[in-house]
C-alpha cells in the first residue's frame, strides 16, 4: 500500500462524498421500487453485500471442485486428463507439434480447459494448465506455490501506469503514488538494471483481498514482493513473465490483475487495455527465468507471430 503522497485530494472529503452518493443512490432505488426493498427486507438480504457474498460462493465453488476432484459446472468443457496428456505428448523433442504452431496448440488447449467466463478455477483445471504451460510455453508455473494461491488465477487484466522507481523519478504517464512495495531503488544513482527491468515488466495482483493478508502480513508482504508470475493472454496465447510490484486493482473495478504498459503491449498490442488472462507463479528458485516476453512467442521459424487481442 503506497504511503500518502502530497496531493490536493482530501481523503476524508472523498470518503464522505462516496458515502453520500451511495446513500442517495440507495434512497432513489428504494423510493422508486418499494417492492424491491420489501423483498430485500423479507429475505434479509443486504444488496450492498450481494456481490461480496457471491464472490465467496464463487471461491467456495472452485475449492469444493478441487476437494472432490469433481469440476464444477464451469468446467464442463474440460477434456479428461488422458486427452490433455495425449495432446501434449504429440509435441516432439523440440516442443514442436506437426501441423500446428505452438501458439495455436496453446490457444486450443486453453479453450478446452478454461470456462467461458473468467473466475476462480478448480485445482484440476489449474493442474492441467500447469502441464500445458510447462510443455508448450516451457515455463514451470504453478497456481499454488509454497502454499500460496491468489483468490483467482483466471481473470481480467487492466492497463496500469508506470511506477515511480526512485525519489524524484519522472516519466510520462507515471502513477502519482508509489507501488505497494515502495521505491525500486533509494536513489537514481542506486538504480540497477534489475530495478529497471522490474518496473518495466511489473504486474499487479490483489494481495489486499487475500483472506490471510492481514494475519500473515509480514510474511506475505515479503513473499509477494517481486514474485515472478507467468501471464498468458487466453485469447491469443501471448505470454509474459512479470514480477509483482503493486497491489490492486480494486475489486469493484471488475478487474483482477494489472500490467505495466510493456506487459500489456506484449500481451495484446498497442491498443490492448483489458482482457482475460491466466496468471500463475513462476517456480524459479534459482532465479533463472528472465522477466519479459516468453521466447516461444518469438520463434519466427515456427510461424508464431504476435497476435493483437
Amino acid at each position: 500500500m503506497p504511503k500518502p503522497v502530497q496531493s490536493e485530494i482530501n481523503s476524508e472529503d472523498l470518503r464522505n462524498k462516496l458515502k453520500l452518493k451511495l446513500l442517495e443512490a440507495q434512497k432513489e432505488l428504494f423510493e422508486k421500487y418499494p417492492h424491491f426493498k420489501k423483498l430485500l427486507d423479507e429475505k434479509n438480504v443486504d444488496l450492498l453485500k450481494l456481490r461480496q457474498h457471491a464472490s465467496k460462493v464463487l471461491t467456495t465453488s472452485a475449492l469444493t471442485g478441487t476437494l472432490l476432484f469433481s469440476p464444477p459446472n464451469l468446467t464442463s468443457g474440460v477434456p479428461v486428463p488422458s486427452e490433455i496428456v495425449k495432446d501434449i505428448s504429440n509435441l516432439d523433442e523440440s516442443g514442436v507439434r506437426s501441423g500446428a504452431s505452438l501458439q495455436e496448440s496453446l490457444i486450443k488447449s486453453l479453450s478446452n480447459i478454461l470456462p467461458e467466463k473468467v473466475g476462480p478455477l478448480s485445482r484440476t483445471q489449474e493442474k492441467y494448465l500447469e502441464q500445458v504451460f510447462k510443455n508448450i510455453i516451457g515455463v514451470n508455473a504453478r497456481a499454488t506455490l509454497e502454499g500460496e494461491h491468489l483468490n483467482t488465477t483466471y481473470g481480467l487484466i487492466g492497463l496500469e501506469q508506470h511506477l515511480i522507481r526512485y525519489p524524484g523519478d519522472s516519466v510520462a504517464y507515471m502513477a502519482p503514488g508509489r507501488g505497494a512495495w515502495g521505491y525500486f531503488a533509494p536513489s537514481k544513482s542506486q538504480l540497477t538494471p534489475e530495478d529497471i527491468e522490474r518496473e518495466k515488466w511489473y504486474a499487479v495482483v490483489q494481495t489486499l483481498y487475500l483472506p490471510d493478508w492481514e494475519s500473515r502480513l509480514s510474511y506475505l508482504r515479503d513473499w509477494y514482493k517481486y514474485r515472478k508470475v507467468l501471464i498468458v493472454n487466453t485469447v491469443n496465447g501471448n505470454a509474459v513473465v512479470a514480477d509483482i510490484a503493486d497491489s490492486g486493482p480494486a475489486m469493484w473495478t471488475g478487474k483482477n490483475f494489472g500490467g505495466s504498459p510493456e506487459v500489456m503491449q506484449h500481451l495484446g498490442g498497442s491498443r490492448y487495455t483489458k482482457g482475460p488472462v491466466v496468471l500463475f507463479f513462476v517456480d524459479d528458485p534459482e532465479n533463472k527465468v528472465p522477466l519479459g516476453p516468453v521466447d516461444y512467442n518469438n520463434i519466427k521459424s515456427l510461424g508464431v507471430k504476435m497476435v493483437e487481442a
Binding site: M1, P2, P4, S7, E8, I9, N10, S11, L14, R15, K17, L18, K21, L22, A25, Q26, E28, L29, K32, Y33, H35, F36, V45, L47, L48, L50, R51, H53, A54, V57, L58, S61, N73, K117, G119, G158, L159, H162, V171, A172, Y173, A175, P176, G177, E199, L208, P249, A250, M251, W252, T253, G254, K255, P261, E262, Q265, S270, R271, T273, K274
Partner: protein, 126 residues
C-alpha cells in the same frame, strides 16, 4: 440461460470495468487513501455505489414483468436469475449511470483530473 449466484457477481462486476471514470476513481482512491484500511473502506463504498446505480438502471429499463423476474431472481433465488433479459442496450445504460455516479463523486470532491491522475489513454512504453 440461468445464471448462478456467482455469475451474478461476474455480470455486475463486468459493468463499466474499463471506463475512464472507473479508472480515474480507482486512481484517486489509491492516491488519497492514507492507509490500507481507508482504501478498503472507500473501495467498498465505490463498490456499493456501483451496485446500486447498476441495479436501478437495470430496473428502470425493464418491463414490469421482467423487473419482477430480475428482482425476485436476484433476491429470492440468485441461482436461477435469468440475466438474458438484460439486453446490450440495458447494459449500456447501466454502465452510463454507473459512470455518471463516479463522475459526480470526482467532480463534487473537486478532484482535478490532471495529467498525473488521468489514467485514460495508453501510456507510452519506456
Amino acid at each position: 440461460m440461468a445464471k448462478t449466484n456467482a455469475q451474478v457477481k461476474i455480470f455486475l462486476d463486468e459493468l463499466a470495468t474499463d471506463s475512464s471514470e472507473s479508472r480515474n476513481l480507482e486512481g484517486v482512491i489509491k492516491r488519497s487513501a492514507p492507509s490500507e484500511g481507508a482504501k478498503k473502506e472507500m473501495d467498498d463504498l465505490a463498490d456499493g455505489l456501483k451496485t446500486l446505480k447498476g441495479v436501478k438502471a437495470i430496473l428502470d429499463n425493464l418491463s414490469p414483468e421482467d423487473q419482477e423476474k430480475f428482482a425476485e431472481g436476484l433476491i429470492k433465488d440468485p441461482s436461477v436469475l435469468d440475466t438474458t433479459i438484460i439486453t446490450g442496450e440495458i447494459r449500456h445504460k447501466a454502465e452510463e449511470k454507473i459512470n455518471e455516479g463516479f463522475s459526480e463523486v470526482l467532480s463534487e470532491t473537486k478532484v482535478e483530473i490532471t495529467k498525473e491522475t488521468q489514467t485514460e489513454g495508453k501510456p507510452p512504453v519506456k
